[in-house]
């Protein structure tokens, strides 16, 4: 097939991708949309195989088979609670592929210096740099989420300066290549520098900020793919990459806004370090007026309420308590209690994380309420049941200008008539910030593993 015919058929792929995103605007049509996207991808792959310049050899067949089988098995086997790291992993391999393409393209032109047009060499540099950062950064994010390495920010003196210097070196190598120094080693240096930068860039970012990082890396991979489109003069790559780049950028901005923090602060603030003195503060709080309740007390409170709002956080995901939570809601609804779920935009480790987990447990999506929708309802709420959430319900964000999270929009659970906080222990939350909610006179604490505690609540409610 000639290049022009191929490009015409790639247009079908482009339309499929746009429809796929368009259909994501409604939960009822979203799945169909995903299939349309997959059909578009299949068309693109078949057209490429039929392309004049493509010889189908072992590289394509074996490479495609290994990658495809790995992707299918990993995607099928992964538990819903491990979804953030799976998204990070697939994002990373895409970035890696883009970086490798740029390496091969550069190498192909290398024996013939001067043949590269300036714009093509810029595209090669861009996809090599962004793709490598995305690959390495995603792998670090994967390792953090999979708890292969600690989730807390990893910092050392001179970190920002070091990262900046590294980025400057990488940029210098890129500029040298574009300026005409088409030396192979320069691109290798650029690739390794970018990989290292990707690692160093994500290491200091704490687990609670992962929704922002994953969105940003998603945008990076999209842009890297778009850059390869400029190398190969392929419209489908440019459009698809741009769509993903726009999506990731938009999500990143929304996550930043949901935390009332600038993207710069998220990326370079090393938020969530254990602050000196935070431990002492937490001890003071726990000496105070924290009231611990038993599961039976809480079960009675819930069973005789009219309206209960469940506030899930990352703790629910860690304990894999979503099925138990749904069971509890079922038991309560049998008793005529109205149960809703309050979802904070940055609860969990990726955008929309809680929605997916609760959907997995068959919670109907109309019961999942966004922050702006649920906040006015808290004053009429009898019990707010906070399961493994902390910073997103911390009233200090509204009232204490000295708090690191001051100004972040939160779920106003403290307006509810009673608050039950389920927590493993009195350790300060991820960000190491005191939470005055815990000493609120309306609050009782239910300590223990979220899944076991919820199971005890279910048993308690059943006996009433």
């Amino acid at each position: 097939m000639s290049r022009d015919w191929a490009n015409l058929l790639y247009l079908v792929t482009i339309i499929c991708f746009i429809l796929a995103l368009r259909f994501l605007s409604s939960p009822t049509r979203a799945r169909l949309g995903n299939w349309i996207g997959a059909a578009g991808m299949t068309i693109a792959i078949v057209v490429t195989l039929a392309h004049d310049g493509v010889h189908i050899g072992w590289r394509i067949i074996v490479g495609g088979a290994i990658g495809g089988v790995f992707g299918a098995v990993a995607a099928r086997r992964v538990r819903m609670t491990a979804m953030p790291q799976m998204v990070a992993l697939f994002n990373g391999v895409g970035g890696g592929a883009a970086a490798l393409v740029s390496l091969a393209e550069f190498h192909n032109h290398a024996p013939d210096p001067g043949r590269l047009h300036g714009d093509v060499s810029i595209a090669i540099i861009a996809s090599a740099l962004i793709g490598s950062v995305s690959f390495a950064g995603s792998m670090v994010a994967f390792a953090k989420l999979q708890e292969l390495i600690g989730g807390r920010p990893i910092t050392y003196p001179g970190q920002k300066f070091g990262n900046l210097a590294l980025l400057a070196l990488v940029a210098a190598a890129g500029i040298a290549i574009v300026a005409g120094a088409e030396q192979q080693w320069l691109l290798w240096a650029l690739l390794f520098g970018s990989l290292l930068f990707g690692v160093l860039f994500v290491l200091p970012i704490g687990g609670a900020d992962m929704p922002v990082v994953i969105s940003l890396l998603n945008a990076f991979t999209g842009l890297a793919a778009a850059a390869t489109g400029f190398e190969l003069n392929s419209n489908v790559l440019i459009v698809s990459g741009a769509l993903v780049g726009a999506s990731g950028t938009l999500l990143t901005m929304m996550m930043g806004a949901a935390m009332n923090r600038s993207i710069g602060n998220v990326l370079f603030g090393a938020f969530g370090q254990v602050q000196a003195g935070a431990g002492a503060g937490a001890a003071a709080v726990s000496d105070g007026t924290v009231r611990a309740a038993t599961a039976d007390d809480v079960a009675i409170m819930l069973a005789y309420a009219h309206k209960v709002v469940v506030v899930p956080g990352y703790g629910m995901a860690v304990a894999q308590a979503q099925h138990a939570v749904r069971e509890l809601a079922d038991e309560l609804e049998k008793k005529g209690v109205h149960v809703d779920y309050a979802i904070h935009p940055v609860a969990g480790r990726m955008p929309g994380h809680m929605n997916v987990l609760l959907a997995e447990a068959n919670v109907p999506y109309p019961a999942l309420k966004e922050m702006d929708e649920i906040n006015p309802e808290f004053p009429q709420t009898d019990v707010a049941l906070v399961i493994g959430a902390n910073d997103v319900v911390n009233p200090a964000a509204r009232s204490d200008p000295g708090s690191p999270i001051y100004g972040m929009p939160i779920l106003d659970v403290d307006n509810a008539k009673h608050i039950v906080v389920m927590k493993r222990s009195m350790n300060p939350g991820f960000a190491g910030i005191d939470n005055p909610l815990f000493v609120d006179p309306k609050t009782v604490m239910l300590f223990g593993d979220a899944k076991e505690s919820v199971a005890r609540l279910v048993a308690g409610v059943k006996t009433l």
């Binding site: 394509i60 495609g64 391999v93 390869t228 999506s247 959907a359």
Partner: protein, 106 residues
């Protein structure tokens, strides 16, 4: 078409696609943000097309050959994994069998 003319066309397409992307994505509800991430993840798997063009070159030297092979492998994992994971997620979003206590309590 001259190289420069082609570049101008491509830049035009890029700009339009970015604006289209913002337009389409801003209509996606927060409920579906995880499937959105995962779905766009699958879409950037389109880089497999670039990988196949590299790996399918007639007489690649050993570096290009191996790099192309690796790129196809990564791209295929991205495409298949991305779409399958997204499908698994979207399968779960249900409106539900009607609530037992349909009479909403005041």
């Amino acid at each position: 078409m001259s190289h420069f003319a082609q570049l101008v066309v491509e830049l035009t397409i890029l700009a339009l696609a970015i604006f289209l992307g913002f337009e389409v994505i801003s209509k996606v509800p927060t409920l579906l943000h995880t499937p959105l991430m995962s779905g766009t993840n699958a879409i950037h798997g389109i880089v497999i097309v670039a990988a196949m063009l590299v790996a399918g070159a007639a007489h690649p030297d050993s570096l290009t050959g191996w790099v192309g092979f690796a790129a196809v492998m990564l791209g295929a994992a991205n495409v298949v994994g991305g779409f399958v994971v997204t499908d698994r997620m979207l399968e779960m979003f249900k409106k539900r069998e009607p609530r037992q206590s349909e009479g909403e309590r005041e």
